[in-house]
Symmetry: C2
Subunit: 197 residues, 2 copies
């Protein structure tokens, strides 16, 4: 639509697309990155676009009861520290691997990622996979996809964090919508899998 100079500016309208987008951002509030990613991956799967799953949390099982006529019941178990990342899968013939993190402040402190996970990201890069960090700045309601090469290099340089400005500069803002809520694969299309690359 062309806006002619003399045309009155479009009045504010709750149904206007920009507001719909605003609404989506608002809807995002209070949700969590993991849920959004799981929903997005489900949508990608149903639309036959990609096969990406969250790995189950590793759990150390200590004691199991086997009641008669009922399912085995785990009665003592503990969460284990994951040695790899949260998500992996397959997109357009490529191995995809990423860790998802949230932060309420304007930086992501490296103390919230384990050395094991950094090492895993480095290995994925080395063996020809696509690896990245999905970083949600929850108070801004923005999610950035940041390539693992940047994340691991910063970590190895003994930097303490990734700032919001670094995420903006070296990462890609993930478009939000419905089904998938986080359109992160379009970033791979654009920056990783462009024809000829």
């Amino acid at each position: 639509m062309v806006n002619y100079p003399n045309k009155k500016k479009q009045p504010v309208n709750q149904n206007w697309p920009v507001h719909e987008e605003k609404k989506l951002y608002t809807a995002y509030r209070g949700m969590n990155l993991e849920e959004d990613l799981n929903e997005s991956n489900r949508a990608y799967l149903e639309q036959d676009i990609a096969v990406i799953y969250k790995k189950p949390t590793p759990i150390q099982i200590v004691k199991v009861d086997y009641p008669r006529r009922a399912a085995a019941k785990i009665v003592e178990a503990y969460y284990q520290k994951p040695s790899t990342t949260d998500y992996n899968g397959l997109y357009r013939g490529h191995y995809i691997d990423f860790e998802a993190k949230e932060t309420k402040v304007d930086y992501f402190p490296f103390k919230n990622i384990s050395e094991h996970q950094i090492l895993h990201l480095e290995r994925v890069l080395k063996h020809g996979g696509i690896a990245f960090l999905m970083l949600a700045f929850t108070s801004r309601e923005e999610v950035y996809l940041i390539d693992a090469s940047y994340v691991t290099a910063s970590y190895r340089k003994d930097e303490k964090k990734i700032t919001y400005v670094q995420a903006q500069t070296y990462g890609h803002l993930v478009r939000q919508g419905f089904a998938p809520r986080l359109h992160y694969l379009e970033i791979l299309d654009e920056y990783y899998l462009k024809e000829g690359s």
Copy 2:
């Protein structure tokens, strides 16, 4: 080594390679496929050959206690049916995905694999990954790598099983050894990733 017609046959010798191999087969007895695969994947990882992991078993957590000064303790949880396969990862730039199954008899009954897992293998093939079934005939102490295309086609044709003869005919016998115990990636080198393919 060439055996001349008149040359005396090599006497049986405990150090002879064929016996070493025999010994390995014997060592394999009583072990399980999952342990062997985990050990093999650990070896591949340590030798910087591939990045392949078993996915943790999905567990539905119902109740967690948070004792003071101690780790969260899961006090009620149940095993969930996995909707994908046991193993996935990255090898030579390729997405690898497989299910591992054991059978004591001379066939693998399809009732021991879920429709969800078949569907997952089909999706992996469709999106350009390498997918297969790793099938151990425990009484024979042999493991076969069978491409998912064969497995899923048999399943969809409503066949009830994969027989030992079919595994021999359409699959590849996995060489056994030390670190990795199961040299399954060499089958990918030979049949999937041959130069020019």
